[in-house]
Symmetry: C2
Subunit: 194 residues, 2 copies
């Protein structure tokens, strides 16, 4: 009885590990609950008991991987602090195993609304809230235009990275991050005397 939770936890980890391994080996399109169960050495009902769909299993598995470093530091320099987190995000998106697995997860979210909702709630919303919090401090310190809407910042700064990852498949390099930050901070409009 006493070691039961630990055994369950280990089995959960084994199943999630099997899902990630199979997605990388076979491609996500060929991932099935049956194949995951076989690789993990459990019955498929054991998998279904915890996860009603392969998408929700895959979501848990991908989000169990280490994605630390996505919270903003506060060094007093908003551009530098945004750059730290965006560069870390670029590294995650651009490199195996996380980048391709995350891309598969977003692909699944387009066909499975439960996966989409859970991805937003568990992964995107905390990052949005952290960005907003850091920007509010920056605004109070006069580091942002008074009329800039901080609610938009996460979407405007992350949007181009996701666009490259999901649409054009161009690399998200550190140089690209610098160019996006420069463009979004300076703005497209000609500067006029204040």
């Amino acid at each position: 009885m006493t070691d039961h939770p630990t055994r369950t936890d280990d089995r959960t980890k084994t199943i999630m590990r099997a899902a990630l391994d199979l997605a990388r080996e076979l491609g996500y399109a060929k991932l099935t609950i049956e194949a995951v169960a076989a690789r993990a050495g459990v019955g498929k009902h054991t998998v279904y008991r915890r996860w009603p769909s392969r998408g929700l299993l895959f979501l848990d598995a991908v989000l169990s991987l280490n994605t630390s470093g996505l919270n903003h530091p506060d060094t007093g320099d908003i551009v530098a602090d945004l750059r730290v987190v965006m560069t870390r995000a670029a590294d995650l998106l651009g490199q195996p195993p996380w980048g391709p697995l995350y891309q598969d997860l977003i692909g699944e979210a387009q066909h499975d609304p439960e996966v989409a909702a859970a991805l937003s709630r568990r992964f995107i919303e905390p990052q949005t809230a952290d960005t907003l919090s850091r920007l509010k401090t920056a605004k109070e310190q006069g580091q942002l235009a008074p009329d800039f809407d901080p609610e938009l910042a996460f979407e405007i700064l992350s949007g181009p990275l996701y666009f490259r990852l999901l649409i054009t498949q161009q690399p998200v390099t550190h140089d690209y991050i610098d160019r996006v930050l420069q463009a979004v901070f300076s703005g497209m409009a000609p500067r006029t005397q204040a």
Copy 2:
């Protein structure tokens, strides 16, 4: 012999129509070449002869739908002209049938590199080129900051829309377009005297 091209063309259209109908009725995850062939009243080899995968069939089918209005007018006002096209894009993304079908297509592109490459080449690159061309004129007329990189504009302006469509599933409204344009034109940085 003389009517052969027309018959082939009609059959192609029937197959693409069947793919779109089935994707909407069953959900893209359940779309198969076999089901499309049956719905279109042709043999599955007829489908495979033209399209090697369901993803490439679906790409042709989605891109065959009317998406006109994504080329920029030139009224002399760059913000107004960008707004016209972004608003049209928002309407396409937000409404059936195009929005959900396009979302399915992007989902498939995450698992199928051939679909991703063809989507970029046939749909995204022409829009990027058109945006760039309009921005170059605007820059020559002093409507953009001299140091703004027009190569980035399409990604920065479209990125937030795609982020909402694909990641947070929040609506892309006309008001949202106005907020994004305002933020990207003004920039995040406080205005300093020039």
